[in-house]
Symmetry: C2
Subunit: 187 residues, 2 copies
DNA sequence: CAATAGATTGACTAATCACTCTATAAAAGT
DNA sequence: ACTTTTATAGAGTGATTAGTCAATCTATTG
Protein backbone atom coordinates (compact mmCIF):
# COMPACT_ATOMS: atom_id res chain seq x y z
CA UNK A 1 0.00 0.00 0.00
CA UNK A 2 1.47 3.38 -0.94
CA UNK A 3 1.76 6.25 1.48
CA UNK A 4 -1.27 8.10 0.22
CA UNK A 5 -3.50 5.12 0.81
CA UNK A 6 -1.80 4.44 4.11
CA UNK A 7 -2.70 7.96 5.20
CA UNK A 8 -6.32 7.55 4.07
CA UNK A 9 -6.58 4.25 5.92
CA UNK A 10 -5.28 5.73 9.17
CA UNK A 11 -7.44 8.80 8.82
CA UNK A 12 -10.51 6.62 8.39
CA UNK A 13 -9.80 4.59 11.50
CA UNK A 14 -9.03 7.61 13.65
CA UNK A 15 -11.82 9.87 12.40
CA UNK A 16 -14.40 7.18 13.11
CA UNK A 17 -13.00 6.50 16.57
CA UNK A 18 -12.21 10.03 17.72
CA UNK A 19 -14.06 12.32 15.30
CA UNK A 20 -12.61 15.03 13.11
CA UNK A 21 -11.79 17.26 16.02
CA UNK A 22 -10.33 14.52 18.16
CA UNK A 23 -7.90 13.44 15.47
CA UNK A 24 -4.84 15.63 14.94
CA UNK A 25 -3.05 15.34 11.61
CA UNK A 26 0.09 14.44 13.53
CA UNK A 27 -1.59 11.34 14.90
CA UNK A 28 -2.75 10.33 11.43
CA UNK A 29 0.77 10.69 10.07
CA UNK A 30 2.24 8.74 12.95
CA UNK A 31 -0.21 5.87 12.61
CA UNK A 32 0.34 5.82 8.85
CA UNK A 33 4.07 5.58 9.42
CA UNK A 34 4.89 8.76 7.55
CA UNK A 35 6.13 12.16 8.61
CA UNK A 36 4.01 15.20 9.22
CA UNK A 37 5.32 16.81 6.07
CA UNK A 38 4.42 13.85 3.91
CA UNK A 39 0.80 14.06 4.94
CA UNK A 40 0.67 17.64 3.75
CA UNK A 41 2.46 16.70 0.58
CA UNK A 42 -0.48 14.51 -0.38
CA UNK A 43 -3.28 16.58 1.14
CA UNK A 44 -2.99 20.32 1.16
CA UNK A 45 -5.26 20.71 4.17
CA UNK A 46 -6.96 18.55 6.73
CA UNK A 47 -10.25 19.52 5.15
CA UNK A 48 -8.98 18.14 1.84
CA UNK A 49 -8.13 14.88 3.51
CA UNK A 50 -11.60 14.61 5.00
CA UNK A 51 -13.17 15.38 1.65
CA UNK A 52 -11.04 13.08 -0.47
CA UNK A 53 -11.49 10.23 1.96
CA UNK A 54 -15.24 10.64 1.61
CA UNK A 55 -15.10 10.70 -2.17
CA UNK A 56 -12.81 7.69 -2.40
CA UNK A 57 -15.03 5.59 -0.16
CA UNK A 58 -18.14 6.55 -2.09
CA UNK A 59 -16.48 5.66 -5.37
CA UNK A 60 -15.27 2.34 -4.02
CA UNK A 61 -18.78 1.51 -2.83
CA UNK A 62 -20.37 2.41 -6.16
CA UNK A 63 -17.85 0.41 -8.13
CA UNK A 64 -18.47 -2.57 -5.89
CA UNK A 65 -22.25 -2.36 -6.20
CA UNK A 66 -22.32 -2.06 -9.96
CA UNK A 67 -19.72 -4.78 -10.43
CA UNK A 68 -22.30 -7.21 -9.08
CA UNK A 69 -24.90 -6.73 -11.76
CA UNK A 70 -24.82 -8.62 -15.04
CA UNK A 71 -26.41 -7.57 -18.36
CA UNK A 72 -29.09 -10.25 -18.27
CA UNK A 73 -30.45 -9.04 -14.91
CA UNK A 74 -33.92 -7.50 -15.13
CA UNK A 75 -34.59 -4.21 -13.37
CA UNK A 76 -35.99 -5.86 -10.25
CA UNK A 77 -32.95 -8.15 -10.01
CA UNK A 78 -30.61 -5.19 -10.41
CA UNK A 79 -32.31 -3.19 -7.69
CA UNK A 80 -32.38 -6.19 -5.38
CA UNK A 81 -28.69 -6.83 -5.94
CA UNK A 82 -27.76 -3.22 -5.26
CA UNK A 83 -29.85 -3.35 -2.09
CA UNK A 84 -28.51 -6.64 -0.77
CA UNK A 85 -24.90 -6.01 -1.68
CA UNK A 86 -24.98 -2.60 -0.10
CA UNK A 87 -25.83 -4.19 3.22
CA UNK A 88 -23.11 -6.79 2.86
CA UNK A 89 -20.60 -4.14 1.88
CA UNK A 90 -21.56 -2.01 4.87
CA UNK A 91 -21.26 -5.01 7.19
CA UNK A 92 -17.80 -5.81 5.85
CA UNK A 93 -16.75 -2.15 5.84
CA UNK A 94 -18.35 -0.78 8.97
CA UNK A 95 -15.85 2.00 9.45
CA UNK A 96 -16.27 3.20 5.90
CA UNK A 97 -20.02 3.13 6.18
CA UNK A 98 -19.89 4.94 9.48
CA UNK A 99 -17.55 7.53 8.02
CA UNK A 100 -19.96 8.30 5.20
CA UNK A 101 -22.73 8.95 7.70
CA UNK A 102 -20.41 10.99 9.87
CA UNK A 103 -19.58 13.31 6.98
CA UNK A 104 -23.19 13.43 5.86
CA UNK A 105 -24.28 14.94 9.16
CA UNK A 106 -21.37 17.30 9.58
CA UNK A 107 -20.56 20.68 8.07
CA UNK A 108 -17.88 18.96 5.97
CA UNK A 109 -20.57 17.73 3.64
CA UNK A 110 -20.75 21.24 2.21
CA UNK A 111 -17.17 20.85 1.02
CA UNK A 112 -18.22 18.14 -1.41
CA UNK A 113 -18.90 19.81 -4.76
CA UNK A 114 -22.43 19.41 -6.03
CA UNK A 115 -21.10 17.83 -9.24
CA UNK A 116 -19.36 15.04 -7.35
CA UNK A 117 -22.46 14.34 -5.28
CA UNK A 118 -24.59 14.21 -8.41
CA UNK A 119 -22.20 11.90 -10.20
CA UNK A 120 -22.36 9.45 -7.34
CA UNK A 121 -26.10 9.25 -7.08
CA UNK A 122 -26.71 9.38 -10.83
CA UNK A 123 -26.64 5.65 -11.50
CA UNK A 124 -28.99 4.96 -8.61
CA UNK A 125 -31.37 7.63 -9.82
CA UNK A 126 -31.30 6.05 -13.28
CA UNK A 127 -32.29 2.69 -11.85
CA UNK A 128 -35.30 4.25 -10.18
CA UNK A 129 -36.30 6.13 -13.33
CA UNK A 130 -36.04 2.93 -15.32
CA UNK A 131 -38.15 0.99 -12.84
CA UNK A 132 -40.75 3.74 -12.88
CA UNK A 133 -40.77 3.91 -16.69
CA UNK A 134 -41.35 0.18 -17.02
CA UNK A 135 -44.15 0.45 -14.44
CA UNK A 136 -42.36 -1.95 -12.10
CA UNK A 137 -42.66 0.43 -9.19
CA UNK A 138 -45.16 3.10 -8.19
CA UNK A 139 -45.10 6.51 -9.78
CA UNK A 140 -43.79 8.44 -6.80
CA UNK A 141 -41.28 11.29 -7.11
CA UNK A 142 -37.88 9.81 -7.90
CA UNK A 143 -36.20 11.69 -5.11
CA UNK A 144 -38.71 10.41 -2.60
CA UNK A 145 -38.04 6.84 -3.64
CA UNK A 146 -34.31 7.45 -3.52
CA UNK A 147 -34.45 8.97 -0.06
CA UNK A 148 -36.77 6.33 1.34
CA UNK A 149 -34.64 3.54 -0.06
CA UNK A 150 -31.50 4.99 1.47
CA UNK A 151 -33.06 5.41 4.86
CA UNK A 152 -34.59 1.94 4.74
CA UNK A 153 -31.14 0.57 3.95
CA UNK A 154 -29.67 2.37 6.92
CA UNK A 155 -32.45 1.03 9.10
CA UNK A 156 -31.85 -2.55 8.06
CA UNK A 157 -28.11 -2.10 8.44
CA UNK A 158 -28.45 -0.64 11.91
CA UNK A 159 -30.49 -3.61 12.97
CA UNK A 160 -28.47 -6.45 11.47
CA UNK A 161 -25.12 -4.99 12.46
CA UNK A 162 -25.76 -6.15 16.02
CA UNK A 163 -26.97 -9.59 15.00
CA UNK A 164 -24.95 -12.83 14.87
CA UNK A 165 -23.88 -13.52 11.28
CA UNK A 166 -26.22 -16.47 10.72
CA UNK A 167 -29.29 -14.43 11.62
CA UNK A 168 -28.48 -11.58 9.27
CA UNK A 169 -29.40 -13.09 5.92
CA UNK A 170 -33.15 -13.66 6.51
CA UNK A 171 -33.59 -10.15 7.89
CA UNK A 172 -31.75 -8.60 4.95
CA UNK A 173 -33.90 -10.59 2.51
CA UNK A 174 -37.16 -9.65 4.17
CA UNK A 175 -35.85 -6.12 4.53
CA UNK A 176 -35.73 -5.94 0.78
CA UNK A 177 -39.20 -7.48 0.44
CA UNK A 178 -40.64 -4.85 2.77
CA UNK A 179 -39.17 -2.06 0.70
CA UNK A 180 -40.28 -3.71 -2.51
CA UNK A 181 -43.84 -4.08 -1.24
CA UNK A 182 -43.76 -0.43 -0.32
CA UNK A 183 -42.61 0.64 -3.77
CA UNK A 184 -44.80 -1.63 -5.91
CA UNK A 185 -48.55 -1.51 -6.29
CA UNK A 186 -50.51 -3.73 -3.94
CA UNK A 187 -52.27 -6.49 -5.86
CA UNK B 1 -34.27 33.17 28.95
CA UNK B 2 -31.65 32.52 31.60
CA UNK B 3 -27.95 32.30 30.84
CA UNK B 4 -27.81 28.53 30.81
CA UNK B 5 -30.49 28.34 28.17
CA UNK B 6 -28.90 31.20 26.29
CA UNK B 7 -25.66 29.23 26.15
CA UNK B 8 -27.46 26.09 24.96
CA UNK B 9 -29.25 28.06 22.26
CA UNK B 10 -26.05 29.59 20.94
CA UNK B 11 -24.22 26.28 21.09
CA UNK B 12 -26.98 24.66 19.04
CA UNK B 13 -26.85 27.25 16.34
CA UNK B 14 -23.06 27.28 16.09
CA UNK B 15 -22.54 23.53 16.34
CA UNK B 16 -24.97 22.92 13.50
CA UNK B 17 -23.40 25.59 11.33
CA UNK B 18 -19.71 25.02 12.07
CA UNK B 19 -19.53 21.60 13.70
CA UNK B 20 -18.14 20.74 17.11
CA UNK B 21 -14.58 21.41 16.07
CA UNK B 22 -15.35 24.61 14.26
CA UNK B 23 -17.05 26.13 17.27
CA UNK B 24 -14.82 27.44 20.07
CA UNK B 25 -16.36 27.81 23.49
CA UNK B 26 -15.35 31.47 23.40
CA UNK B 27 -17.58 32.01 20.37
CA UNK B 28 -20.50 30.31 22.10
CA UNK B 29 -20.06 32.49 25.15
CA UNK B 30 -19.80 35.63 23.05
CA UNK B 31 -22.94 34.86 21.05
CA UNK B 32 -24.80 33.98 24.23
CA UNK B 33 -23.80 37.31 25.70
CA UNK B 34 -21.96 35.84 28.68
CA UNK B 35 -18.33 35.64 29.64
CA UNK B 36 -16.05 32.69 29.07
CA UNK B 37 -16.05 31.88 32.72
CA UNK B 38 -19.82 31.76 32.92
CA UNK B 39 -19.97 29.09 30.26
CA UNK B 40 -17.70 26.89 32.34
CA UNK B 41 -19.68 27.68 35.43
CA UNK B 42 -22.70 25.96 33.85
CA UNK B 43 -20.87 23.28 31.89
CA UNK B 44 -17.72 21.80 33.32
CA UNK B 45 -16.35 20.88 29.89
CA UNK B 46 -17.21 21.43 26.27
CA UNK B 47 -18.04 17.74 26.05
CA UNK B 48 -20.57 18.22 28.84
CA UNK B 49 -22.19 21.02 26.90
CA UNK B 50 -22.47 18.86 23.78
CA UNK B 51 -23.96 16.04 25.82
CA UNK B 52 -26.43 18.09 27.82
CA UNK B 53 -27.61 19.91 24.73
CA UNK B 54 -28.36 16.56 23.15
CA UNK B 55 -30.26 15.29 26.17
CA UNK B 56 -32.29 18.47 26.55
CA UNK B 57 -33.38 18.42 22.91
CA UNK B 58 -34.34 14.77 23.08
CA UNK B 59 -36.38 15.40 26.20
CA UNK B 60 -38.11 18.37 24.69
CA UNK B 61 -39.01 16.32 21.62
CA UNK B 62 -40.38 13.45 23.66
CA UNK B 63 -42.44 15.71 25.83
CA UNK B 64 -43.87 17.38 22.76
CA UNK B 65 -44.77 14.10 21.07
CA UNK B 66 -46.51 12.58 24.06
CA UNK B 67 -48.35 15.78 24.86
CA UNK B 68 -50.27 15.26 21.61
CA UNK B 69 -51.90 11.97 22.47
CA UNK B 70 -55.14 11.76 24.39
CA UNK B 71 -56.42 8.84 26.51
CA UNK B 72 -59.17 7.89 24.07
CA UNK B 73 -56.73 7.39 21.18
CA UNK B 74 -56.41 3.79 20.03
CA UNK B 75 -52.96 2.36 19.47
CA UNK B 76 -53.00 3.07 15.75
CA UNK B 77 -54.02 6.68 16.34
CA UNK B 78 -51.29 7.07 18.93
CA UNK B 79 -48.60 5.74 16.62
CA UNK B 80 -49.84 7.87 13.77
CA UNK B 81 -49.80 10.97 15.92
CA UNK B 82 -46.28 10.30 17.13
CA UNK B 83 -45.22 9.79 13.53
CA UNK B 84 -46.89 12.84 12.08
CA UNK B 85 -46.01 15.18 14.91
CA UNK B 86 -42.41 14.11 14.81
CA UNK B 87 -42.17 15.30 11.23
CA UNK B 88 -43.85 18.59 12.06
CA UNK B 89 -41.58 19.08 15.05
CA UNK B 90 -38.52 18.37 12.94
CA UNK B 91 -39.69 20.82 10.29
CA UNK B 92 -40.23 23.51 12.89
CA UNK B 93 -36.99 22.71 14.69
CA UNK B 94 -34.59 21.88 11.90
CA UNK B 95 -31.48 22.81 13.78
CA UNK B 96 -32.46 20.66 16.73
CA UNK B 97 -33.25 17.73 14.51
CA UNK B 98 -29.99 18.18 12.64
CA UNK B 99 -28.10 18.37 15.90
CA UNK B 100 -29.52 15.05 17.06
CA UNK B 101 -28.35 13.40 13.87
CA UNK B 102 -25.00 15.10 14.12
CA UNK B 103 -24.40 13.69 17.59
CA UNK B 104 -25.73 10.30 16.59
CA UNK B 105 -23.03 9.88 13.96
CA UNK B 106 -20.19 11.29 16.00
CA UNK B 107 -18.05 9.86 18.75
CA UNK B 108 -19.91 12.09 21.21
CA UNK B 109 -22.77 9.66 21.18
CA UNK B 110 -20.71 7.35 23.39
CA UNK B 111 -20.78 10.04 26.07
CA UNK B 112 -24.53 9.57 26.47
CA UNK B 113 -25.07 7.08 29.29
CA UNK B 114 -26.92 3.93 28.29
CA UNK B 115 -29.54 4.63 30.95
CA UNK B 116 -30.43 8.00 29.45
CA UNK B 117 -30.68 6.54 25.97
CA UNK B 118 -32.93 3.75 27.25
CA UNK B 119 -35.18 6.16 29.12
CA UNK B 120 -35.72 8.17 25.96
CA UNK B 121 -36.67 5.27 23.72
CA UNK B 122 -38.65 3.43 26.36
CA UNK B 123 -42.03 4.98 25.63
CA UNK B 124 -41.66 4.37 21.91
CA UNK B 125 -40.66 0.77 22.52
CA UNK B 126 -43.75 0.36 24.70
CA UNK B 127 -45.98 1.58 21.90
CA UNK B 128 -44.53 -1.01 19.55
CA UNK B 129 -44.89 -3.77 22.12
CA UNK B 130 -48.50 -2.81 22.70
CA UNK B 131 -49.27 -2.77 18.98
CA UNK B 132 -47.66 -6.18 18.60
CA UNK B 133 -49.53 -7.59 21.60
CA UNK B 134 -52.88 -6.45 20.26
CA UNK B 135 -51.96 -7.96 16.86
CA UNK B 136 -52.27 -4.60 15.17
CA UNK B 137 -48.84 -4.90 13.59
CA UNK B 138 -46.72 -7.82 12.42
CA UNK B 139 -44.77 -9.89 14.89
CA UNK B 140 -41.31 -8.66 13.92
CA UNK B 141 -38.57 -8.02 16.49
CA UNK B 142 -39.40 -4.85 18.38
CA UNK B 143 -36.00 -3.37 17.76
CA UNK B 144 -36.30 -3.93 14.04
CA UNK B 145 -39.63 -2.12 13.95
CA UNK B 146 -38.19 0.68 16.04
CA UNK B 147 -35.15 1.10 13.82
CA UNK B 148 -37.11 0.90 10.58
CA UNK B 149 -39.64 3.42 11.82
CA UNK B 150 -36.93 5.85 12.79
CA UNK B 151 -35.14 5.58 9.48
CA UNK B 152 -38.40 5.87 7.57
CA UNK B 153 -39.14 9.03 9.51
CA UNK B 154 -35.76 10.46 8.61
CA UNK B 155 -36.36 9.56 4.99
CA UNK B 156 -39.69 11.34 4.86
CA UNK B 157 -38.27 14.32 6.69
CA UNK B 158 -35.31 14.59 4.33
CA UNK B 159 -37.67 14.64 1.42
CA UNK B 160 -40.30 17.05 2.65
CA UNK B 161 -37.82 19.48 4.15
CA UNK B 162 -37.05 20.74 0.64
CA UNK B 163 -40.70 20.98 -0.39
CA UNK B 164 -42.93 24.06 -0.30
CA UNK B 165 -45.15 23.99 2.78
CA UNK B 166 -48.37 23.22 0.97
CA UNK B 167 -46.95 20.09 -0.65
CA UNK B 168 -45.66 18.63 2.58
CA UNK B 169 -48.86 17.40 4.16
CA UNK B 170 -49.90 14.80 1.56
CA UNK B 171 -46.40 13.32 1.46
CA UNK B 172 -46.26 13.08 5.24
CA UNK B 173 -49.67 11.40 5.29
CA UNK B 174 -48.78 8.88 2.63
CA UNK B 175 -45.39 8.44 4.26
CA UNK B 176 -47.20 7.16 7.30
CA UNK B 177 -49.44 4.92 5.21
CA UNK B 178 -46.40 3.35 3.55
CA UNK B 179 -44.88 2.56 6.91
CA UNK B 180 -48.16 1.28 8.24
CA UNK B 181 -48.64 -1.02 5.25
CA UNK B 182 -45.16 -2.32 5.84
CA UNK B 183 -45.83 -3.07 9.47
CA UNK B 184 -49.32 -4.55 9.21
CA UNK B 185 -50.35 -7.83 7.58
CA UNK B 186 -51.37 -7.55 3.97
CA UNK B 187 -55.02 -8.45 3.59
C1' DC C 1 -27.88 43.99 58.24
C1' DA C 2 -24.26 40.81 58.22
C1' DA C 3 -22.80 36.65 56.37
C1' DT C 4 -22.73 33.15 53.25
C1' DA C 5 -23.34 31.17 48.80
C1' DG C 6 -23.81 31.46 44.14
C1' DA C 7 -23.13 34.02 39.74
C1' DT C 8 -20.23 36.52 36.64
C1' DT C 9 -16.27 38.40 34.75
C1' DG C 10 -12.18 38.46 31.73
C1' DA C 11 -7.36 38.13 31.81
C1' DC C 12 -4.29 34.33 31.78
C1' DT C 13 -2.02 29.77 30.69
C1' DA C 14 -0.47 25.53 29.23
C1' DA C 15 -1.18 22.72 25.68
C1' DT C 16 -2.26 21.62 21.16
C1' DC C 17 -2.51 21.79 16.37
C1' DA C 18 -2.56 22.81 11.39
C1' DC C 19 0.56 23.95 8.49
C1' DT C 20 5.46 25.76 6.82
C1' DC C 21 10.11 25.46 5.73
C1' DT C 22 14.52 23.78 4.85
C1' DA C 23 17.18 19.94 3.80
C1' DT C 24 17.90 15.65 1.67
C1' DA C 25 16.99 11.61 -0.91
C1' DA C 26 14.97 9.24 -4.75
C1' DA C 27 13.04 9.10 -9.46
C1' DA C 28 12.30 10.62 -13.88
C1' DG C 29 13.42 12.93 -17.84
C1' DT C 30 16.75 14.40 -21.41
C1' DA D 1 25.73 12.03 -16.57
C1' DC D 2 23.20 15.85 -15.42
C1' DT D 3 19.19 18.34 -14.42
C1' DT D 4 14.68 18.73 -12.82
C1' DT D 5 10.92 17.11 -10.43
C1' DT D 6 8.82 14.62 -6.86
C1' DA D 7 8.85 12.36 -2.25
C1' DT D 8 10.05 12.39 2.52
C1' DA D 9 11.49 13.91 6.74
C1' DG D 10 10.97 16.40 11.05
C1' DA D 11 11.96 20.48 13.60
C1' DG D 12 9.80 24.82 14.06
C1' DT D 13 5.97 28.45 14.44
C1' DG D 14 2.15 31.34 15.02
C1' DA D 15 -2.34 31.03 16.16
C1' DT D 16 -5.94 29.09 18.66
C1' DT D 17 -8.36 27.06 22.38
C1' DA D 18 -10.23 24.60 26.53
C1' DG D 19 -10.19 25.41 30.87
C1' DT D 20 -8.41 28.12 35.36
C1' DC D 21 -8.34 31.59 38.74
C1' DA D 22 -8.72 35.45 41.61
C1' DA D 23 -11.63 39.18 42.05
C1' DT D 24 -16.11 41.37 42.10
C1' DC D 25 -20.92 41.51 42.08
C1' DT D 26 -25.59 39.89 43.43
C1' DA D 27 -29.03 37.35 45.69
C1' DT D 28 -30.47 34.67 49.76
C1' DT D 29 -30.82 33.65 54.42
C1' DG D 30 -30.51 33.83 59.51
Amino acid sequence: MDKREQILASALRLFVEFGFHGTPTSKIAKEAGVSNGTLFHYFATKEDLIKELYISIKNELNQFLFSKITPQDGIEAVIKKVFIYFIYWALENREKNHYIQQVLFSPHIFQIPESVAMEQSQKHIQLIEEAKATKVIKDLPTNLIYTLTNSHLMGIYNYVVNLPTDEQKPIIESGFDMLWDMLTEQK
